[in-house]
Symmetry: C2
Subunit: 205 residues, 2 copies
């Protein structure tokens, strides 16, 4: 299996496949086809076969994919066959929503720290976490060796917080602020933006 040169665009689709497969497994299904999976995720069967075949031979001609095996393999490829510690920066509405989000279970992630710079929030509880002082963020993240952050700071503060996260050793940032973040080449950013998702549907209205 040579995963050295898999295009980003294919890697970006694998989590979508993985989520659909996990839901099929939860629903009690054991096998699926590229056609069925494609209908679930809105991607052609041919594309799915091509994407998955980049990593080896996971299905059998005619009998489709064994769901549990494909989940195992995709989880390995995406490195979510383990649990990653994640910090949340910003304890506003979105920080609260994330701290209480039930959707991280079995997906490879757990929130372990929440930071904010508002003295009125520091020390308060958010879900099961105590909000910690953002002034101590760099040191605490570095000590814990955490590589992933979810950034819910306001747009005006987001770049400065990002700089600190990078300094702390964070290499993957999920950005909820409606701005572009500047990061070094070795840091990944994913932007979560409801407007972009809505725009994927208006075409069909």
């Amino acid at each position: 299996m040579n995963t050295e040169k898999i295009p980003d665009i294919i890697i970006g689709r694998l989590p979508i496949y993985l989520r659909a497969l996990q839901r099929m497994a939860e629903a009690g299904n054991h096998t699926t086809s590229s056609k069925e999976l494609g209908e679930r995720v809105g991607i052609s069967a041919a594309q799915i076969r091509k994407d998955i075949s980049q990593f080896g031979e996971f299905g059998k001609q005619g009998s489709g994919y064994r769901i549990s095996y494909l989940i195992e393999k995709l989880s390995e490829i995406l490195k979510v066959d383990r649990i990653w510690d994640v910090v949340v920066v910003g304890a506003g509405d979105m920080g609260h929503a994330l701290a209480n989000y039930p959707g991280f279970i079995n997906r490879g992630f757990q929130i372990v720290m929440v930071f904010d710079n508002d003295p009125a929030k520091i020390g308060q509880k958010i879900g099961k976490f105590i909000i910690q002082d953002a002034a101590e963020m760099v040191e605490k993240i570095r000590q814990a060796g955490i590589q992933i952050a979810m950034l819910t700071a306001p747009a005006s503060a987001a770049q400065e917080v990002t700089n600190q996260l990078v300094k702390a050793g964070v290499r993957a940032i999920l950005n909820y602020a409606p701005i572009s973040l500047n990061v070094p080449e070795n840091v990944k950013v994913q932007h979560i933006d409801p407007a972009t998702h809505l725009q994927k549907m208006t075409y069909y209205l």
Copy 2:
């Protein structure tokens, strides 16, 4: 311009291009290339040229794309050259975050109503909205002719709320609940899920 048979996967990438172009415009840029745009969004220049050429000839060989023109055309194609009214269902943390989200401006959307079924929340303010009784939701949405909803209800209630939204005439749902929704063929669902976005980055760690 024949947009009848554009694959969903291409339509799904256009909002990503549009967001990047709008940010370039805000930064004062006037022209761009498929190479530059590709580096911004993590998609190959060849793929971008191919995607955009589905809709006509928007760029000139050698001189690239005029940003304002491409923004205008992509907005037209995606039908976000107008403002769509949107309802939020669920006035929890995520509902609050959406009601206060500053990122809808110039993206084609405005929230106009927020609903919840919790008597303690109904009548309270959320951002600039009064939380309305979910029992009146179907009638109010139908009367207003609203086609788009953001669903932040808990997973246990999400399918039932979805059924009501469909009954009310909603045809596009942005789903924040960590479950799959069953909808008729003519209704689109987009799922916003932080775990999936995080999984797009762990591969690189």
